[in-house]
């Protein structure tokens, strides 16, 4: 039974989740970054998971450059980047990182009373594309740095009760 849900602090939740993944499974550092200049990657790998349930729907998108995707993959698999065999290994690792971010978000939503389920991850890869979602999903974009590589996590959520997401909304 949902009572008065607290505002969900998406930015700190995502940063903590990312820091956990980077420190525990990649032995890499990560820190928040300014949005500008926006990362402009010639080739992008995007891992996403969706959440849907009672009172909330949405998705988490992890956008990384091809080169950061390979670095992350090599770190998680404990191999050198040149040892990565094909795109499938990279896709699997980026999917798993997106899955861990989505899992943390889903947990927070459930604990706040928004019971929901999570989808299995999907991957989008390409050079010149944008992800359009329904305007009511209200995207939040968060930028991070790992080494010199800037990357983006976007969270799109729609609540029946908008105050749960943004305490300033009426």
């Amino acid at each position: 039974m949902r009572r008065t849900p607290p505002a969900i602090e998406i930015e700190s939740l995502i940063f903590q989740a990312l820091r956990d993944v980077f420190e525990k499974m990649l032995s890499m550092s990560v820190q928040p970054a300014e949005p500008n200049p926006r990362p402009d990657h010639p080739e992008r790998v995007v891992g996403s998971v969706g959440v849907a349930g009672d009172g909330v729907t949405g998705a988490v998108f992890l956008h990384v450059s091809e080169s950061l995707a390979r670095k992350i993959s090599a770190a998680m698999l404990a191999i050198n980047p040149h040892e990565i065999q094909g795109r499938e290994q990279v896709h699997d690792v980026v999917s798993e990182v997106a899955n861990m971010l989505g899992g943390r978000l889903k947990s927070r939503l459930c604990d706040a009373g928004f019971r929901c389920a999570m989808t299995t991850p999907t991957i989008i890869r390409g050079s010149a594309f944008s992800i359009e979602t329904a305007p009511e999903l209200r995207p939040r974009e968060m930028f991070f740095l790992s080494g010199r590589e800037k990357f983006l996590v976007a969270v799109h959520l729609k609540f029946k009760d908008a105050k749960a997401y943004d305490p300033q909304s009426s």
Partner: protein, 128 residues
Amino acid sequence: MTLKVLSVDDSRTIRLIVTRALMPYDCVVIEAANGEEGLAAAAREKPDLILLDITMPVMDGVTMLGKLKEDEVLKQMPVIMLTAESGRENVLHISKLGISDYLVKPFRAEQLIEKATRTVPLQKKAAA
């Protein structure tokens, strides 16, 4: 005694991390990519320990666990759930499913070994 560990996860990366973490120990790791394959492998291989992911295509980990618990032979197998969901509600839910333990992703290899050692008599391989 060489133990059999069944790793059920749709992520090849996680199965690889599990296999690598268990490499210094006297065990063989059997892999399955979803709950359906996991059930078949459990019935065929009779593992000493099952490491079971929750969110998977075809058949998820909770469904697989339910089916294990319905089987007179398979229900005795210890299961450690691997979950990306660390929330209070999820932890309460999975702890009621009759599992031995659970491990939240992301995890370090040492955390996996610690949980596995608490559940089954995992021994380091004898030096050659």
